[in-house]
Symmetry: C2
Subunit: 241 residues, 2 copies
Amino acid sequence: MRPTIYLFGDSITEQSFLQAAWGASLANLYCRRADVVLRGYGGYNTRWALRVLNKGKVFPPPQSSGGAPLAVTVFFGANDAALPDSFNAGVHVPLEEYKQNLRSIVAIFKERWPTTSVIFITPPPIDEAARLLDPDNKLGVVERTNKVAGQYAKACVAVAADCGIPSIDLWSKMQQSPGWQKAFLSDGLHLTPAGNTIVFEEVVRKFEEAGLKPEMLPLDLPLCNDLVPPNDALEVLDKFS
Amino acid sequence: MRPTIYLFGDSITEQSFLQAAWGASLANLYCRRADVVLRGYGGYNTRWALRVLNKGKVFPPPQSSGGAPLAVTVFFGANDAALPDSFNAGVHVPLEEYKQNLRSIVAIFKERWPTTSVIFITPPPIDEAARLLDPDNKLGVVERTNKVAGQYAKACVAVAADCGIPSIDLWSKMQQSPGWQKAFLSDGLHLTPAGNTIVFEEVVRKFEEAGLKPEMLPLDLPLCNDLVPPNDALEVLDKFS
């Protein structure tokens, strides 16, 4: 049976199968090797994520038939970093708690699945001008700033280093390209197709560094070319394991 | 835990997470309700599909922790219908055997998972002019014809009716639109974005008729709006089941 790759995160993960977004691109890349399974929850922060993990929700029990997943991406922080005095204060988590929550999430995954690659993705940068156009923003004051998102991104990278796991510093990576605000972000926070491509390419790179290059993983059934004459298809299928 | 929807078929299924293809669109539609899991095998026909099912491959054992899937789409026939005297003869399956194989596949699923919706999708129509451009076609003779694909499509619909399960007659549906050859098929066989949209919309319609409208399925965690003040997020999360 195929192994699993989980995508765990907030709305940027939940929307990762929309159009040609990064989750769908991963599912396509691993289409004969692994199941890319979506666990994205719009608006969620690390406090809520940790709570549901602690209560045994979201993921199957450790001893379930599927075995340990190959990898889990953990992509939270955009909501934690919402400003505590804004209209979106309900999703805010203080920076120190965010760091502690990320540490706890890693500890849960590492205890549950010692062989699984856990990869952090930082929140993306924020285009504040675009956020002011959010129809929910009736006060006309930004509810997220790029500076604060950067503090959470930096914290995310630091926790990953402390825990000895890889991280993708999306906040820094995107800002290396001039015009990142419109090129990569559709509403100042969520991803355009080009923004999705960056996340996809960075995740693929980290998966490869973790030994999860698709070509290195077994196929779950033979390729068609190995089933046509002069091969005996049914014999090849029966022997394949 | 979320239930599963399996997409079982040949290359048109295997490629269903490429760009905004029909599988990715389904995964996005069901993103908080069900896992859309890819079981597409390029070049496979019903003989090979049946063989691997009979050997207990492809799907988890019936008693595994995940439970019965909500639905399985069965999308074979494009390879079975390859002409037996063409360069692609190795994937051909005679029409009568195709029908019997489809019946056997339904019987296996219905015995294994009595509650699961099994939905057939017929092969698409063939644009023979485009097939002649296939670089593997060194003889310059078509290896699939629209007429023969239509015979397999008709058989697929008939077997579904016999078995009392729904089917999507993609072969007929696509040909209702003038210019279907280039509008829906990228190489005379596989799907363009517009072709993917047709498959997606037809599958969604059949899922809805089977009582699987996304809104009718439970969420696996509360929506963000139910977690922000005046609600107590952790209390709501703990009570949610």
